[in-house]
């Protein structure tokens, strides 16, 4: 059971993020919601690569007596997570700068009032 807790956390985080995006009105909160989803998915990837009692996959820094490569955690999901984090930073910066510009133009952060483009 204990090994499922990260996955439950992933689902909870994704749903909290989706809730924030769908039902919160403030643009900043929507942006926060997206980052929560992203963290949930990063947690999912990290959990995939984790091995019970594994060590960090540093080739030259193995503790004496560890079997190589059976006791290392998987490095590929970590690489995926790193890439995802890097992309997340770019998306976050872009979204926040758009929010700043939108606030300047619309004078509000309420998502229900930012809909000049409809129908």
């Amino acid at each position: 059971m204990i090994e499922f807790i990260p996955f439950i956390a992933v689902v909870v985080m994704v749903f909290i993020g989706l809730y924030a995006v769908m039902f919160r009105r403030n643009l900043i909160k929507i942006v926060i919601g997206i980052t929560i989803i992203e963290s949930g998915i990063n947690l999912f990837l990290i959990t995939l690569g984790y091995r019970e009692g594994g060590v960090a996959p540093i080739y030259t820094g193995l503790p004496p007596g560890t079997a190589y490569p059976e006791q290392m955690v998987l490095p590929v999901p970590q690489a995926l997570t790193l890439t995802s984090i890097v992309i997340g930073v770019a998306v976050l910066a872009l979204m926040l700068s758009l929010v700043m510009h939108i606030y300047r133009k619309y004078g509000t952060l309420d998502v229900r009032k930012i809909r000049r483009l409809k129908e």
Binding site: I58, Y59, T60, G61, L62, P63, V89, S97, M100, R104
Partner: protein, 158 residues
């Protein structure tokens, strides 16, 4: 953002070189330990953000031009792709590691097994880490700088 008190400034002055040094260490050891260009670059950029918080964003904006940072960012990206293209030239494959095992710069072959890390290994990986590091330092710093500056000015962009 306005200037902060003298205490904050002094602490920032002391911490700034160490933060930058630590970031550069992470960039340089990217091929041996966890970390690399992006992580180290983020640490250096957060050191620069420390300056932004302590001194005002105007103070930083006067000293460092946004255009120059953008140029550095391009140089980082160009360096990365150039190394990849050099792999195409020297080892006939894009992103090829032409320096590994050549006993030149970063070219020695590491000993197998659990040994001490040898800095002079990794082939083109450290070079790519440096390129990415330059790009990330410049990129993240310009993002933070422009955002901080823009939110401190009432009628910005005009």
């Amino acid at each position: 953002m306005t200037e902060m008190t003298k205490i904050v400034k002094t602490i920032a002055n002391i911490l700034f070189p160490f933060t930058v040094l630590f970031g550069l260490y992470i960039i340089a050891h990217g091929h041996l330990t966890p970390g690399g260009g992006f992580q180290g670059g983020a640490v250096v950029a957060s050191g620069c953000a420390l300056l932004l918080v302590a001194y005002s964003s105007r103070w930083v904006f006067k000293r460092i031009k946004e255009k120059r940072l953008a140029t550095f960012e391009s140089i980082g990206a160009i360096g990365f792709i150039t190394v990849a293209l050099l792999g195409l030239v020297f080892s006939m494959v894009f992103f090829g590691n032409f320096l590994a095992g050549s006993n030149l710069l970063f070219g020695t072959t590491p000993a197998t097994g659990s040994t001490l890390a040898d800095f002079n290994t990794g082939g083109v990986l450290p070079l790519m880490n440096f390129a990415v590091g330059v790009k990330v330092i410049a990129g993240l710093f310009v993002i933070v700088l422009v955002m901080a500056y823009a939110s401190s000015v009432k009628e910005w962009g005009q």
